[in-house]
Symmetry: C2
Subunit: 513 residues, 2 copies
């Protein structure tokens, strides 16, 4: 029994049973130790951003952390962008970062770097297990810390000698923290303010977008409170049978126009809404002038309890309005666009599907079309770092092997973590990938004028256009081992998507829009 | 004239004329400003690790920095691994990292993160231009700092409002630092020690591996000093007409065996050699017991001057031994392996070629075969973060459009930055890519036993093997817009490689080994 064995024993004892990995020499003891513990599922990713994004998708669906296995500072670095997203999603993740043996660090070998500093911006907890005796207890501490509340990625640095030296194999059980309910005074203050307001809004985020919380929010909707969610939510149930809150608009001026006349905003599981980017002469804070603000539940608090208590205090009925099941009457036809893709998804997506949305400018069309589709969950891009849609789907599919997973991606976004396609094939995951191929950073063409930067000239266009050459996405997907088709019409897409929903295993569809 | 214009004006005035970019909304002013300055060449990369690796290749060949354009913390994060390599190569790079407008940072919008902390481990200088008036002067400071000596990546954070607000367009000229020559006392001490030693060795690294320095080292070889270089050198001339130093072995025990009997090691442009990784019961420091050590030139000092002074002090002749031009007699035949690939490269590689080596376990075969090939430069993986071979080649080809660039890659390594293939096609760069497809993290199979982790069982094998499914590299390359062939025999490889050397523009060859 060595430190690596002790680490895995403690992880598994705390229900960390999936490992998204891209190991190197300094992680070989951990890799070898996996052979002794079949309860831990190793999933190889050919790039660390796939591993961290997959761990995010796993955590959002499983409600518990996966671990990653990363190779020193550079390996962790490759995972940073999706860990940024995971931090914003408050997803529990235990990053295990291999390091040089403790005595070897002083020699500053080529792969040496300041891991402790590198992990800081995206870790809610970070420690190095500098002796084998500390590995198990720090692993338990790491697991507990990852739950927060409100949770997030943690970083456990594992020097090679701590992994290979003898250690006790007794697993240490983590003390998983519990979310406290909001104080009753906060609930009462919000109840009084809502009664006094003409046009009150509750804004939901994080855990306040769980199925239970959305149910309570629906009750509040029944007594005249308008319910919004954050623009980007880590995990949200949608479709028939549930309450459908509004969503904060992405562009600040559109959000402000929609909120005109609102005189009270109550934050639940989230904070004051702000513009995604700053623009010259446009607002940063998306709260109407003169509108009062209150907090019902902090991100770390139990929003479900807070919303239920508020609904009871306001005498709300036991059930708010719910979405009907209403599927499109007919298959879409004609030229393909994002809305028609959404029509096909609404027609064929099975109950319990999980949508991983990194579709950027194409996402809204799908979201509109699936409002009354069969009940499903949507995982959004919480941190703005595109390139998460493929990895998220890997993690979701590993966490919920009986649910169909859809991965919706802009072509620009998908390219960041294109290596994920290989892992889908290797693990035979039940994922249908859709790439919206417009061969452009379309969003940037929109943002360019909004930032006041004017029209793109020849140099600028070279940085926005992806059409020269056009990526052959079907070739890429097949090259990674996936069955793949390209659809240029809505009719063809509908047939391909129906086929994908009727089978198990990975399928890739390029939607040429 | 705004801050973005001022930034580009100052960069160009200081000969920073290539920009490897993956911009987002917060960088739109910089993108727009490029239209006014055709002297700055924008090169779009569909992943930031390609941009930073390309800037590294550019800097190593051009001897001056390129800039990158990166999208906030996550965009920089994606570039970290190759910036780690660049830091180890001491390559000047000016990273321009867009950030939220200064007044917007406080709202912690989704893309907000602690950029200042994130950049620390891999920046030798980092500042944020928090007002438009500081942009030009900080840009000049950044350029100067990137030169070191010994140089490295710097980080200039550019908030969106500093880019869009008015600024003076007067460019600020950077004060480029000069490397000091080593003190004559250091040279004298080394000369005395060498005269007294039985078996002296000089170890070269960094600038001490430049053509001028290698020439001086060859003179020292002529008076009985054994010359080694570091295992991994940022840039080194090789082949006919030059002196061929030995190379420190990668595996410590092999290095120690080779160094047996050495009683003096003199470090020039580098420091004490250490093992790449630690292993149980193997040495970290690769200096024989009882061997004296001295430093001729620190990394920041002028190794050329130091070596020349030492050669003069020891009465060395004006010219040391040089490699003959000796090409393989015949085309290789039979099953393909790395050595036979090297034979073909030696046969057909033109004078002045640049080899970007990320070939891991296949690299040694090529290096051995090209020792007496036509003169060329080799750029190695200095920091151990695989995934640099394709990006390096982009930068080298942009810096030296008249030289043939070879990019040699292990298949596992190439996958990290596979997006680079698209940029090669888009820019029609004169690069021949060779992928050694063994469908395995071969090096890890070797390292597994060396670390004492034993034989891989079923779980461990899942993390080392890349053969299920096998990536179809030709499909990937064609999907990214490159002409591509797969070669399964040495004969076929020789014909394909000869064809690639006889044409201009990008070509992709999968060497099925």
């Amino acid at each position: 029994m060595n430190g690596a064995d002790a680490l895995i024993a403690t992880l598994v004892a705390n229900e960390v049973t999936a490992c998204f990995a891209n190991p190197g020499t300094s992680e070989m003891q951990f890799v070898a130790a996996l052979d002794g513990v079949p309860a831990m599922r190793p999933v190889l990713c050919q790039f660390e951003g796939v591993a961290t994004g997959a761990a995010d998708g796993y955590g959002r669906i499983a409600g518990k952390p996966a671990c990653t296995l990363l190779h020193l500072g550079p390996g962790y670095g490759n995972g940073v962008a999706n860990l940024h997203n995971a931090r914003r999603a408050h997803t529990p993740i235990v990053n295990v970062i291999g390091d040089h043996a403790t005595y070897h660090r002083q020699y500053d070998a080529p792969l040496n770097s300041d891991i402790a500093t590198l992990v800081k911006p995206n870790s809610i907890w970070a420690k190095s297990a500098d002796s084998p005796d500390t590995v198990a207890s720090l692993a338990a501490e790491a697991v507990a810390a990852s739950y927060g509340p409100p949770g997030g990625p943690v970083s456990l640095i594992l020097p090679a000698d701590s992994a290979w030296l003898p250690a006790s194999g007794e697993p240490v059980i983590a003390r998983i923290p519990v979310r406290p309910a909001p104080a009753s005074e906060a609930v009462d203050a919000v109840a009084r303010a809502i009664k006094a307001a003409k046009n009150p809004v509750i804004l939901l985020g994080g855990q306040a977008c769980s199925a239970e919380a959305i149910h309570e929010a629906g009750r509040l909707s029944a007594v005249g409170v308008t319910i919004y969610t954050d623009t980007f939510v880590a995990r949200q149930p949608r479709g028939a049978g549930g309450f459908a809150p509004k969503k904060m608009q992405y562009f600040g001026e559109m959000a402000m126009a929609e909120l005109e006349g609102v005189d009270l905003m109550v934050f639940t599981g989230t904070t004051m809404p702000v513009a995604f980017f700053a623009y010259p002469d446009r607002p940063s804070v998306l709260v109407p002038e003169g509108c009062a603000t209150l907090t019902l539940a902090e991100r770390a608090e139990d929003s479900v309890a807070g919303l239920a208590a508020l609904a009871n205090a306001l005498g709300a009925p036991g059930q708010g309005p719910t979405q009907p099941l209403k599927l499109p009457d007919a298959a879409p036809t004609g030229d393909l666009n994002a809305h028609l893709v959404g029509t096909s998804i609404a027609r064929h997506m099975p109950e319990g599907a999980i949508i991983c949305d990194d579709a950027v400018t194409s996402g809204a069309g799908v979201a509109a079309a699936t409002l009354t589709a069969r009940p499903h969950d949507t995982l959004a891009l919480t941190g703005g770092a595109i390139g998460i849609g493929l990895p998220l789907a890997i993690g979701a599919a590993v966490a919920a092997p009986d649910r169909k997973v859809l991965s919706l991606n802009g072509d620009g976004a998908a390219m960041y973590t294109v290596q994920a396609l290989w892992t889908m094939a290797r693990e035979n995951l039940d994922i249908t990938v859709v790439i919206f191929a417009n061969h452009s950073y379309r969003i940037l063409n929109i943002e360019m004028t909004r930032t006041g930067a004017g029209q793109a000239g020849p140099s600028a266009r070279k940085l926005l256009d992806l059409g020269d050459p056009k990526v052959d996405w079907v070739a890429l997907a097949r090259g990674m081992g996936l069955p793949a088709v390209r659809c240029t019409t809505a009719d063809a897409f509908d047939r391909a998507f129906e086929g994908a929903m009727g089978q198990r295993g990975p399928m890739f569809i390029e939607a040429a829009i």
